[in-house]
């Protein structure tokens, strides 16, 4: 991880120079043209320091790429982006949101990575009535039992990819017994919960559910507990824990004996380049893959690689796509972002097309209906990638269930 971090800093310094140059150039041009309306201010926050800094940076980079492509312009107004570091600490996130809204006077908000930050911000965003886009926070209830009027999600719910994946695992992968191991927090519970529900409805059986603390440093005790007699192990990790789990899974001789499947984050491109052959063959589900074969993604991935010298991760794509909702909403109100109700309407009704992840529409709860991709890690041209092996189209957060019925049931928990 270390060398890549360093590289990220270099990139960011370069990027800043480019942005400044662009902004200066753009400002000069507009000033010359017209004495127009002041810029639309967009407040954006993700963790840029601490353990989740890389994921936060990916999200930001995707957004910056989109803004650069569109010339920092929408609805006939310039766009001014104000970025804050929420450090992955909910209280800091709230303070930064207050700063962006109360001091900088932003018209719209975007960002947040962690569920805890997402939940912490929601009441404040509601009280301020500022439209906000959550590109990543995946806590089911944010668009289910604890909906917020002013927040839309352009990402996914934790259980969303897992509902169809559970059925796929039973019907296509022909798995009958699965042991799960996941990080012990909301994202883990909801993802595993979604998988368990559909997998067991099909007739499969979850034989074991292990939960690892977020601070875990050694998987040995957990790997020792996993039964060797199951058809597959389902794993949910990300960042450092993903790297370590997949490596130790091989070291403990489980790779090759028990198929490893899991949530898309476990092999997402934010960690995949740092993995080795131990990752090959892992099958996961998510609404995106860097290797997705469609024109929009080929264009996006190429631009992203050229700009940041990295493969785009699902985090990178999250706000590239989420940003399209932001721009579409500003276009919809013709730049009149001061009318917040209209802006919110514009956001909820936006229908951006040509998205790297494929077609997306928001449901009436403010959550995307989108394709879920089953991906298998392969080495292509010497590089690991998440090759898409199945596309499960138009998946809603409620899967095949009736939303009203679905919402009467409790949230997935441990």
């Amino acid at each position: 991880m270390e060398p890549r971090k360093k590289q990220a800093h270099v990139v960011s310094a370069f990027r800043r120079t480019v942005i400044i140059a662009l902004v200066v150039a753009g400002a000069t041009l507009t000033l010359a043209q017209t004495a127009e309306r002041p810029p639309v201010k967009i407040g954006f926050m993700v963790p840029l320091s601490g353990a989740n800094a890389q994921n936060g940076r990916d999200i930001l980079n995707g957004f910056l790429l989109l803004l650069e492509e569109t010339g920092y312009q929408a609805g006939g107004r310039k766009i001014e982006l104000i970025v804050e570091d929420d450090e992955g600490i909910p209280a800091v996130g709230l303070t930064k949101a207050r700063k962006l809204i109360e001091r900088d006077g932003v018209h719209m908000m975007g960002g947040a990575l962690l569920t805890s930050t997402g939940y912490a911000l929601a009441p404040y965003i509601e009280s301020q009535g500022i439209p906000m886009v959550y590109p990543v926070v995946s806590a089911d209830d944010l668009t289910q039992r604890r909906r917020a009027k002013w927040i839309i999600r352009t990402g996914y719910t934790g259980s969303q990819p897992n509902h169809p994946f559970g059925e796929y695992a039973y019907n296509t992968l022909k798995l009958r017994t699965v042991a799960t191991i996941a990080l012990d927090y909301g994202f883990g519970w909801e993802s595993v919960g979604g998988f368990r529900r559909t997998f067991e409805e099909q007739g499969g059986r979850i034989t074991q559910s292990l939960w690892a603390p977020l601070s875990i440093h050694d998987f040995a005790p957990y790997l020792a507990q996993i039964s060797r007699d199951v058809d597959a192990v389902y794993a949910l990790f990300l960042g450092r824990t993903a790297l370590q789990f997949v490596r130790q899974y091989e070291e403990y001789g489980l790779k090759g004996r028990v198929q490893l499947i899991g949530m898309g984050t476990t092999t997402d491109e934010h960690v995949l380049p740092a993995m080795g052959d131990e990752a090959i063959g892992v099958i996961t589900a998510l609404h995106y893959s860097g290797a997705l074969e469609n024109p929009a993604n080929r264009k996006f991935a190429a631009a992203y690689r050229a700009r940041y010298k990295r493969v785009p991760s699902y985090y990178s794509e999250s706000m590239y796509t989420g940003g399209k909702w932001v721009l579409a909403a500003i276009d919809a109100v013709k730049g009149n972002v001061e009318d917040r109700n209209a802006l919110l309407e514009g956001l909820r009704n936006a229908r951006p097309t040509d998205l790297p992840r494929g077609p997306v529409v928001l449901d009436e709860y403010g959550n995307p209906i989108e394709n879920i991709y089953v991906r298998r890690v392969e080495r292509v041209n010497g590089v690991l990638q998440n090759t898409v092996i199945a596309t499960l189209p138009n998946v809603s957060q409620f899967w095949k269930y009736n939303p009203a019925e679905y919402l009467k049931q409790p949230l997935y928990a441990r």
Binding site: S49, E84, I89, P90, A91, K99, E102, S116, A120, A413
Partner: protein, 318 residues
Amino acid sequence: MDAANLPSNVLRGWRRPVFYALAVLLVVGPPFLSTYWVGLLTQMVILAILAMSLDILLGYTGLPSLGHAAFFGVAAYAVAVLATRYQLGFWTCVLGGIMIGTLCSAAIGLIVSHVRDVYFLMITLAIGMVLWGLSNRWIPMTGGDNGLAGIPRLETHAGLPFAGPIPFYYVTLLVFAVSAGIMALLVRSPFGLTLRGVRESESRMKSLGFNTWLHCYLSFVISGVFASVAGVMWAYYNGFVSPTYLDLTASSELFLMVTLGGPATLVGPVIGAGAIVLLKNVISAYTARWLLILGIVYIVAILGAPQGLWNLGRSKRT
């Protein structure tokens, strides 16, 4: 005579005008500030209560706690649980928060009041980690890593006729003034002198006939009371709680507030809390390298004012 009996001649020289200027700013400033700055000021004032409470322990009694944020966090969690899971009324939540935080410090004080110096540091660190772990893992009660959201606004929960950042600020300021007044009286009291005695020479205190264990214990509990008060206010201010309230980062930042501001002065920690909140929020708005700059600022401050900002120009303690 009178001046000499004050802990450290609080208001001598440049400190007097600075003190009054700060007091005036805190009292009359907010109506002239934007809501964002009122919010930051509210944070500073709440964390100032917390920093002063640690000062009782660290500065006056000489017991370096690296787990002090735990009581702050426990009280905040108590408010959150009582208000959201049990939907209890305002005073039940406030008193419940303070009581649970205090009981927690009273129980832990029994364990830690026997040890000193680096052992005290380590055992408080360990206990702080345990409570942090509990907030993370006692999921049915605490919500785990997600924390608990949905704490009602203080103004509506208390049934106040007014609401908004400025009323909340003044409620906080009132709590701060009362807490600071009590703590200031405490450190000037005969009991307060015994705490400084323990810090200076515990064996001499024993040979004079003091049961120093009891004095350390009381100091620990009192400082737990005020940490709890701050925790209750923090829960209402943010409207949610999360494990980060009581993690090691929180405790060490708190430690820094006291040492940077000037231990054993009470005013110093207030300034330390203000300075750190200000620096974090202002610097991070201008550069992504804010952590680096903050680190440099701390190092310069510690080198330039090893006794803390409020002790600048005073002779060194040995």
